[in-house]
């Protein structure tokens, strides 16, 4: 067979790249994704592999949760350390490492918000100045609400003042929850925009600008959502 022995030794600077495309066991060129097609040994998921690639999904933001789960179960069975008890220590270590990566990958991609945060982290490097100015109005609002919450906590809840504070906090909570929902539907629209852009796969200056716009708006919405989420949770915990 032609691929038994590589004819020349790879040069040092190519070694890392080579190591990934070569089976650690039989040194044949890797054609399978997670297992060597030739010697059927499990292959370590590279540290550079992103979670989308790890689970075999494109970098899209709307994923079918059923398909994602099915893939996760399939790979979990393939990598689960229990099935490697009788194998060599190297294979045991690889299976353990892969299972851990797989779990984190699934947990991250399963949640639409975490998935978007992760995608942003992957793509952010290529976008200039993705962090935008802080939402000062929102901050003022949050700090004021915190003051009211503080007053409510210190008040006698059965008194007139306590009841009044509670009522106003409840109204605030509803308003904020509506705002969060609105943000989430805006986010979903951006997710669709992103996916459509990915599907087109062009790289013109126009699509690049569009790409930057989507990522920036997504970054903004996600951070605003975190602030609102925190205060809503705080409200819910206090006034239940």
């Amino acid at each position: 067979m032609a691929n038994d022995q590589p004819s020349t030794r790879p040069e040092t600077r190519h070694q890392l790249q080579m190591a990934r495309s070569m089976c650690w066991h039989c040194q044949s060129e890797m054609s399978g994704e997670y297992f060597c097609e030739r010697c059927v040994k499990v292959q370590p998921v590279s540290k550079d592999t992103d979670y989308f690639t790890c689970l075999g999904f494109p970098r899209r933001l709307t994923l079918d949760p059923k398909k994602l789960e099915a893939k996760f179960y399939e790979l979990s069975r393939a990598f689960h350390p229990d099935f490697y008890q009788a194998k060599s220590p190297t294979e045991q270590t690889i299976s353990l490492g892969n299972a851990a990566v797989l779990n984190t990958a699934y947990r991250t991609l399963r949640d639409p918000i975490q998935r978007a945060e992760y995608l942003l982290a992957l793509e952010a490097g290529s976008v200039k100045e993705i962090r935008t100015s802080p939402p000062a109005d929102l901050f003022e609002e949050i700090l004021e609400l915190q003051d009211t919450l503080e007053q409510y906590r210190a008040s006698d809840r059965e008194s007139d003042q306590g009841r009044r504070l509670r009522a106003s906090l409840q109204t605030e909570q509803q308003t904020l929850e509506r705002r969060r929902e609105e943000m989430e539907s805006q986010l979903r629209r951006l997710f669709t925009d992103w996916d459509q852009l990915q599907d087109r796969g062009e790289a013109t200056s126009q699509t690049r600008a569009e790409r930057d716009r989507i990522l920036k708006q997504m970054r903004d919405l996600l951070s605003h959502r975190t602030y609102i989420n925190n205060i809503v949770n705080d409200l819910a915990a206090t006034i239940g």
Binding site: R131, F139, I142, Q146, R219, S223, Y227, N230
Partner: protein, 132 residues
Amino acid sequence: MAYSDKVVDHFNNPRNMGSFKKDEEGVGTGMVGAPECGDVMKLQIKVQEDTIVDAKFKTFGCGSAIASSSLATEWLKGKTIEEAQKIKNTDIVQELNLPPVKIHCSVLAEDAIKAALTDYQKKTDARPVDTK
């Protein structure tokens, strides 16, 4: 990981909590947030003749964020603008003994100081110094 005694102390007895009126003469306001954890910090300074005579903060966040901003206001008082510029987040980390996962809280405090100083400078630049 437990909080250090100093963090607990600042958390239980925060120094200089509160706020000044934003448009008050000599007041600089810094408002910063950490999108990753959703913490929000407001730090204000009151300046007279290039010296920070008073400082206040309001923070909505974890114990370390509260302690970092509380400590920052303590340090700011009595410092000149120039001295205040030199406060580094690493000083806060050292003083409060913050663990690695809480270093971003001290960064937030440094950002808040910088933002307050910038705001003060912007205000005084825009308004020529009144004759006293």
